[in-house]
Symmetry: C2
Subunit: 306 residues, 2 copies
């Protein structure tokens, strides 16, 4: 199935308890594209400034990422974010945000993207996300949306509107609680699905992820790791693995979404092993298969009560 | 396999965001016995005061719990604990502790318990736990130990000695970090297994449980619940389900421990539905089988990467 990805392409500067990166390549759509292009072609929609390295764009093109929908604003600067992780690696402080090209970003969907069957809306201004949906002449078979608490705080109405248009919403556990006003994730899921999405994925970082649909729930663990080096982009990578598996297998059933979440979790477990997208640029299909097998071993059990 | 359980039988008074209990029956060994007796006979070792209700002892006897090793000190009072849970239900404050009969508890293993094949040491003074091991003329095939941070703080040497004698240790995630000095649970597990236990179970409450053995790891999720009414005794109930499954199936392999952990998780999910042991006294085998099936559905997936 044809996959279109919308989201930021950016520079990040990251501090973790293990070290500090220079200004490196980041952005939700970048992580999604690096991850998803292991499995399926990607049609990318984003915006970068003249300072964004051509070599990075070429590297993505070489992996089958189509960049026709990526605007390059030569006179402007690329979106920049810097942050510092706490010792637990689950929480972080934003040190600096420079919106730059993102400030007035008006995405344009190229004609060649109109065959889109799966639309992945990476975390971005909700109005930008919905404008891409509006530009699609035929509604994609599946619209998947990632978002974050920031939009709940400053533009909740826009966010709720976009949420009402999508099929699958991805949030983390604290965002699910914030959005629903419910502490129990089961209750939160019911309230959020009543806002529109038929499927809800709640990401719990090192504690795995939950997929809700109607009265069903599926749980995917995170792989217990010796070290989480840099969690930046893990959620985007997870989303990239999720939509890529659906696109590649051409199957949008709840059962197949379970497998897609396992693949997303496996890909995210690579992402955190090095700074930025580096690990994602190195892995091969044998490593991915081996990692997926670790997830099978991790949760596989056989029980019969007599 | 013959199962012997050691631990406290107590009175608890519990406050949660949902309500407040009177002085009700509690204690690690009580929860373990109520849970395990669904599956297998239990030989109990504990101590109570003259104030402990005969009706509770009779109810346990009726379920196949042998109380020959339970001392009744008629002139003394039963151990009492009261605590208050925070809104997240994962943390709690102790409001009051009256050791009473536990203060000078010297467990005596009855001759009829000497056939013990699985010994479950519920959370208790580490020296009391080790004294039971010492009294066993033949070492049980499997010794499982639960403990808590309190003993790490006030009698670490005794605790480390007891830990060195057991096969399976159960702790929660923060205790694993405290005991090992490692934040990563994978690293923590390696250090703790080097202290003696061949198996380590790390309980993560609503985030499930991990079983470590040599280089293998298994993850069991907790069932996502609409409401956790009272978490008291969930860890003890988990331990009770774990040892009961091993005892009933007479199989101490790593593979079977996975199933035992799922059963423990299923039983713990009942425990938290009502105050104290109440829910455990009501459930039947059909409900248990249905709950175990929920765990199968929760984590079952099928993935093939081509």
């Amino acid at each position: 199935m044809s996959l279109v990805v919308v989201g930021s392409m950016a520079f990040d500067a990251i501090e973790t308890p293990f070290g500090k990166s220079d200004k490196i390549i980041g952005g939700a759509a970048t992580y999604i594209a690096w991850c998803a292009s292991n499995f399926t072609p990607v049609k990318q929609i984003s915006v970068v400034g003249g300072d964004f390295p051509q070599s990075e764009l070429d590297a993505l093109t070489n992996r089958g990422v189509i960049l026709e929908g990526v605007q390059v604003k030569k006179e402007e600067k690329t979106f920049f974010w810097s942050g510092k992780y706490h010792l637990d690696m689950n929480t972080r402080d934003t040190l600096e945000t420079q919106l730059n090209v993102l400030e007035n970003f008006e995405p344009v969907v190229p004609e060649s993207y109109q065959d889109c069957e799966i639309l992945m809306l990476g975390n971005l201004v909700p109005g930008v996300q919905s404008s891409v949906i509006k530009q699609m002449k035929t509604r994609p078979k599946l619209i998947v949306m990632d978002t974050m608490n920031f939009w709940m705080e400053i533009m909740l109405d826009d966010l709720l509107h976009t949420i009402s248009l999508v099929d699958v919403l991805l949030v983390n556990d604290s965002e699910a609680r914030q959005l629903s006003g419910e502490y129990s994730l089961v209750k939160a899921a019911k309230k959020i699905m009543a806002m529109g999405p038929k499927y809800l994925i709640i990401k719990k970082g090192e504690h795995g992820a939950l997929l809700f649909h109607e009265n069903e729930v599926f749980f995917a663990p995170a792989l217990p790791l010796e070290e989480v080096f840099d969690p930046t982009g893990a959620g985007d990578t997870f989303a990239g693995g999720f939509v890529a598996h659906l696109a590649k297998t051409k199957n949008l059933s709840f059962e197949n979404m379970k497998s897609a979440i396992i693949l997303g979790s496996a890909m995210a477990s690579f992402c955190v092993e090095k700074f930025g997208t580096q690990r994602l640029t190195e892995i091969n299909m044998d490593e991915i298969k081996e990692r997926v097998q670790s997830f099978v071993s991790l949760v596989n059990f056989d029980i019969e009560l007599v």
